[in-house]
């Protein structure tokens, strides 16, 4: 029995479609021109291109709740915030504003409930509770999209450091594969079907 309704995203075959809920869908950031910057930033331990130190810390904290670190590395170790820094550098004002205002709201919610105005200072339980409240917002959809895009795009765009994202899902970026590709075709071959 088909238990779950798949997201419409399953079927959208044209570009950009998976970003529908995020503000990125409206105008695509020109990250292609800036792709190498994140790696440079990381290598130099230098400043972010766009984010302030506080913003970087906040986005990093959010990323670490979207794909958390447990027995295996998460979005933090994969350097998602560097990818985000890159994208924002080339985003349009309207997109930056969505992120800026969304973060400001999140910080306001933080300050209203706790003794700090910084989301990154909270415990993970407190952070999850605040993020759950804003799950349906364009800000959250955007930051979620960016964290996942960071984690699973080519490492040269700044996230997915050491292919940590790909390792997580079991994707190996090879050019040549030969049978068997997995368990079932190996079994098929073994049984001579």
């Amino acid at each position: 029995m088909i238990q779950a309704e798949l997201s419409r995203r399953a079927f959208l075959r044209s570009s950009g479609a998976a970003m529908k809920a995020s503000c990125i869908t409206l105008t695509f950031p020109m990250v292609l021109t800036a792709c190498s910057r994140a790696n440079e930033t990381r290598l130099n331990g230098g400043d972010f291109a766009t984010l302030s130190a506080v913003e970087a810390r906040e986005y990093d904290a959010i990323a670490a709740r979207i794909i958390p670190t447990d027995e295996t590395p998460g979005a933090r170790e994969a350097g998602a915030v560097y990818f985000i820094d890159n994208v924002i550098a080339d985003a349009f004002e309207r997109q930056r504003q969505t992120l800026r205002l969304g973060l400001a709201d999140l910080q306001a919610n933080t300050a209203a409930l706790y003794d700090t105005a910084l989301f990154a200072d909270l415990t993970s339980v407190q952070q999850d509770s605040l993020l759950t409240q804003i799950e349906e917002t364009e800000f959250f959809a955007t930051i979620r999209f960016l964290v996942i895009a960071a984690m699973f795009s080519l490492p040269e765009y700044g996230g997915n450091k050491d292919e940590l994202g790909w390792q997580l899902i079991g994707f190996e970026d090879r050019h040549v594969w030969t049978q068997p590709y997995g368990f079932y075709d190996a079994d098929h071959l073994a049984k001579g079907e």
């Binding site: 029995m1 088909i2 238990q3 779950a4 309704e5 798949l6 997201s7 419409r8 399953a10 079927f11 075959r13 044209s14 570009s15 950009g16 479609a17 998976a18 970003m19 869908t25 105008t27 695509f28 020109m30 990250v31 292609l32 979207i66 794909i67 958390p68 447990d70 295996t72 998460g74 999850d128 993020l131 799950e135 979620r144 999209f145 895009a149 984690m151 699973f152 795009s153 080519l154 765009y157 994202g165 790909w166 997580l168 899902i169 079991g170 994707f171 970026d173 090879r174 050019h175 040549v176 594969w177 030969t178 049978q179 590709y181 997995g182 368990f183 079932y184 075709d185 098929h188 079907e193």
Partner: protein, 556 residues
């Protein structure tokens, strides 16, 4: 200037024999055939000439930054609406196609089904359907078969003839592709249910052919260009031969604005901008439009003149009408062992037992089923969908789902018929303009109730197959409320014998303009069951054959 691709150059102020607009599945075949027959040919292509060495496993570029399919960022906005009573809203690539030499044959999945004899005469056999333009084709399967076989051998197709397949005059040139785990699951489930799964025909080489190498199973077919030229695109197969003929000039980065006609009513010039925006007009003895089922009707509508007030070649009013997308469904199953459907080509088995649904069901339709990866094997798209079996969309449990769903799932997809409707159209948007100042493409589309019923049938059937395959969990969907875009752009300048209800004759010649030919997805009279590229290429070989004979007799 146009980026020069070839040593032969033709002056714009002297008429060449043929100008071909578009270099995709049909345009590439036309270019190769016409230039190979010794005619002077200019091909105008709006995109760049990307080649195997240019392509990468770069999902972020191709899927999210318009690397192959241009959108509003590149100055090509579109609009979409479900009904003519709605105001169309901006929509990214609702009419999706690739902007490069080879067109969408470069990034397509490679699935390469022939139509069957029934497809050409279904309205006679099955009966017409009130409120639709469902009709027979002006040609039969038997007339097209030699050209299907020509496609098989000229570009390279892999497959295995089954007893239920349409008859063929020659075997496939290449053996079938090796089976994937997702298709082992489909094959076993199909057999359990008494169905007949068999190797999927694909325009991807399983062994070397015509000097090109076999597929190395990297997995980046659908949405990507092949990095070793194993995918039998127009770019990899036809364009090199056209350029080698010494009679074909390929001008890339050139966007056609209109086709003009002379005092005799015949097409005489094709007007275009080069990449820098300089306007040129190429004189020609004949024009061949192969710009796809969206851009071909737009160009005809943009070429309206005093002589052709409704648009060039549009005395029937059928230009832009009868747009057909094909329907689609998908059910994803979770399995205990690694499937790794992300490796190798999209689909290696197909089930065609439901090609024609029983009329007693109360609706018209049919289609095919194949096994795939749920998100084309792409890591980012896959991760965005994770949690598909009801899990959360972020956090520790989302991460657990990420760890298994990419590798331990198979998708069974349905590919189905669409009925031709006067109300499903490609038209000119009344307000939105593209970067050249031309009215943007406006798509109006709502699936016919029979098309939705057909999708429901295939959705349920693939669910049963998934159950039989032993999936632990299932998730799935189909566009119940109607599709809002697709990459199959069919029917908008249909072939037919009656000038009142078709745009071109059975040889793809415009009923209105004797030296204007139209051949691409727009030519299809009915939708087939979901994989149109093989038929588009076969039609192009057939049309070119007749055009060459006509030209030699001085009848163009």
């Amino acid at each position: 200037m146009a980026q020069q691709q070839t040593s032969v150059t033709y002056p714009t102020r002297e008429a060449v024999d043929f100008v071909i607009v578009g270099s995709g599945a049909a345009g590439g075949v036309m270019a190769k055939e016409l230039s190979g027959a010794g005619f002077s040919v200019v091909v105008l292509e709006q995109g760049p000439h990307l080649k195997a060495g240019d392509f990468r496993h770069d999902e972020w570029s191709y899927d999210y930054n318009g690397g192959l399919i241009w959108g509003s960022k590149q100055g090509h906005p579109q609009t979409f609406r479900k009904s003519a009573t709605d105001t169309a809203k901006p929509a990214e690539a609702a009419l999706g196609y690739a902007h490069n030499v080879g067109g969408s044959s470069v990034h397509f999945s490679g699935n390469f089904w022939r139509l069957r004899p029934i497809d050409f005469k279904e309205a006679s056999v099955r009966g017409t359907i009130a409120g639709t333009n469902f009709a027979d084709w002006p040609i039969s399967y038997e007339e097209l078969e030699p050209y299907y076989t020509k496609v098989d051998w000229e570009i390279g197709v892999s497959g295995l003839q089954g007893p239920w397949d349409p008859p063929r005059s020659q075997d496939y040139p290449c053996k079938p592709m090796p089976i994937k785990g997702s298709d082992v699951l489909l094959e076993r489930a199909g057999k359990k249910l008494g169905l007949n799964p068999y190797p999927a025909p694909v325009a991807i080489l399983s062994e070397p052919h015509n000097g090109r190498p076999a597929c190395i199973h990297c997995g980046f077919c659908n949405g990507f260009g092949c990095e070793v030229n194993a995918k039998s695109s127009s770019m990899a197969t036809m364009i090199p031969l056209a350029l080698a003929s010494g009679h074909c000039e390929l001008r890339t980065g050139c966007t056609v604005s209109r086709v003009t006609t002379g005092a005799d009513g015949k097409a005489d010039e094709v007007v275009y901008w080069d990449a820098e925006g300089n306007e040129f007009a190429q004189r020609t003895k004949a024009v061949v439009l192969c710009a796809n089922g969206a851009e071909t009707p737009r160009l005809l509508l943009l070429s309206a003149s005093d002589q052709h007030p409704q648009g060039l070649g549009n005395s029937s009013g059928f230009v832009g009408q009868n747009l057909m997308f094909n329907g689609y469904t998908s059910v994803v199953g979770l399995f205990p062992q690694p499937v790794n459907a992300y490796k190798s080509i999209p689909a290696t088995r197909v089930i065609h037992d439901f090609y024609e649904l029983n009329p007693s069901l109360g609706f018209y339709g049919g289609g095919g089923i194949d096994g795939r990866h749920y998100a084309r094997g792409t890591p980012l798209n896959s991760a965005l969908m994770s949690g598909m079996f009801g899990g959360p969309k972020w956090g520790a449990d989302y991460k657990k789902d990420l760890e298994q769903e990419f590798t331990h799932t198979a998708a069974f997809d349905g590919h189905t018929t669409s009925l031709p409707l006067a109300t499903n159209t490609v038209t000119l948007d009344p307000t939105l303009k593209d970067k050249w100042g031309r009215p943007a493409l406006r798509c109006t589309y709502m699936d016919h109730p029979d098309d939705l019923a057909t999708m429901k049938f295939f959705f349920d059937k693939t669910g049963e197959l998934m159950e039989a395959a032993g999936a632990i969990r299932q998730a799935g969907s189909y566009p119940k409320n109607g599709q809002e875009g697709n990459v199959h752009l069919l029917g908008t300048c249909r072939m037919g014998n009656d000038p009142a209800s078709s745009v071109v004759d059975k040889y793809h010649r415009s009923h209105d303009v004797s030296n204007l030919f139209i051949c691409d997805g727009s030519s299809l009279v009915t939708s087939g069951r979901g994989q149109p590229t093989m038929t588009i290429m076969a039609l192009a070989f057939r049309a070119a054959d007749h055009m060459i004979q006509s030209a030699r007799r001085g009848e163009i």
